[in-house]
Amino acid sequence: MIVSPQSMSFPDPLPLRSGASIRGYSLAYETYGTLDADKSNAVLICHALNASHHVAGTYAGQADSEGWWDTMIGPGKPVDTDRFFVIGVNNLGSCFGSTGPMHANPETGRIYGADFPVVTVEDWVDAQARLLDGLGIRTLAAVMGGSLGGMQALSWTLQYPERVRNAVVVASAPNLTAENIAFNEVARRAIVTDPDFHGGHFYEHGVVPKRGLRIARMIGHITYLSDDVMNEKFGRQLREGVVRYTTQDIEFQIESYLRYQGDKFSDYFDANTYLLITRALDYFDPALAHDGSLAKALAVARAKFLLVSFTTDWRFAPARSRELVKALLDNGRDVSYAEIDAPHGHDAFLLEDARYLGVVRSYFNRIAREAA
């Protein structure tokens, strides 16, 4: 499946939860499959932390350019683009095509940098709703996402309950735990204390806070894997085969791997975007406005839900998904929940697992049946 990115511009300002607003913005997106004449087969895919609108397929002439959820989405795949019109959208504040911190602020003509307004999950959903308006889509057959994308999918059912028929929420949570926020904070401190950060206006200095980004990614990466998988993959293997008695250089293979991941990330990810996205994660908490009651918060939802978690995911643990299940049960909503016994930790939601993909495939078959 060869795809190409598109962009939609929005002249009207978007009011944000912070009280600020953003005007003259655009969103990058991709679509796969064909929209039915009655526009009833649209599926919106919300992305996680370091992903984008490029969820499936490849770009022409770029063999290694598979979308980040290519195992899940495409012709004949669990989210079958022969049946569904799938939309991948890139969030506001991202560094992958939508308006973000490296773009010029139309008010000042200056690159936003750290002045890019703080965006929340709810703001992203509002922006996505405008994209759907632009595409002429009133109702989604489904909204789907993993991790932070799952939070957006959940928020869709609360902000626009009448526009969502099904929500597929994978490896997600109704809010972050203190431990999760703590990891995010360490990552942010790594970035903002990098001498090349320049208060977020590093673009003007022609530098990038790579050291900070590297460390942020290393921390993140550790938390996305399970102890078992890391041990299986790297164990205590030494890179040189022998101990060299150095505190500065790489000794263990896992160090080499983390440095590699960090380097790769710091080459393509924007520091301000990382700060914005981790903050959006921290802030998400639909129960907050309802005396902390998730059941009350979810009372407005009308969608049918499929929730999936992975037993070894300690960052978005199954217990967090069960909280969502309970809140949906309390409201008598249609909900199915699969707890997949996979070894890969949080990353499992991006990987090929027959049970996981099978459940999603069956759920989407049902959506297609019900629409027919």
Partner: protein, 194 residues
């Protein structure tokens, strides 16, 4: 125990339009039947991956949980009926789960293999553990970690102050109301908190 006559018999114990929780719902066939024929709504609880998948395929709400971890997710009397069809015998904490069933449901329905069925008695009299259509496993290799009889359940229900609303045996899809403890391979009880 998914033959049609058996399912129909159990379905008759569930009121029209009831909100149902089916503990150990298997492939969701009974819930599917209750939804289609009795206008019920509800959820199945299931631990096995293939059964969870089968439920999603059918369009039955299913929640993958280990029942041995309890029913703390469910509030008191939050369902009209809680079903435990061929589930009790697989549970480590069968008594706790029975009490929980009565807590979460306004009423409960339990069905399980009746160990006092006469072919089983005959087998025991000959000195061997029974291997039958209803209990097709060898004693050393069975998922049924609890074996009990129709009469045993009456005793357990009384001990836990459950009021039995209906009770009978099932054999070859037929309801057995005369001497069910000896004449039926399956015991069925409908009860509520006393």
């Amino acid at each position: 125990m998914s033959d049609h006559a058996t399912m129909q018999s159990i379905a008759r114990l569930v009121p029209q339009g009831a909100r149902v929780l089916d503990l150990g719902c298997g492939d969701g066939a009974l819930l599917d039947l209750l939804q289609r024929e009795r206008g019920c709504s509800g959820y199945g609880i299931e631990i096995a991956d293939d059964n969870v998948l089968a439920c999603v395929k059918r369009g039955v709400n299913v929640i993958q949980l280990n029942l041995d971890e309890g029913l703390s997710m469910f509030d008191d009397a939050s369902f009209d009926v809680v079903l435990q069809i061929d589930t009790l015998q697989h549970l480590r904490n069968a008594e706790t789960m029975l009490v929980e069933t009565a807590r979460v449901g306004r009423c409960g329905v339990v069905a399980f293999p009746n160990f006092a069925h006469w072919p089983n008695r005959l087998s025991i009299a000959r000195g061997r553990m029974p291997v039958t259509r209803r209990l097709p496993y060898q004693w050393y290799d069975t998922p049924n970690i609890r074996v009990g009889t129709y009469k045993d359940f009456e005793v357990l229900a009384t001990k836990n102050r459950l009021t039995i609303l209906d009770a009978y045996g099932l054999q070859d899809g037929r309801e057995v109301r005369v001497l069910p403890n000896a004449r039926a391979g399956t015991a069925v009880f409908k009860f509520e908190r006393g």
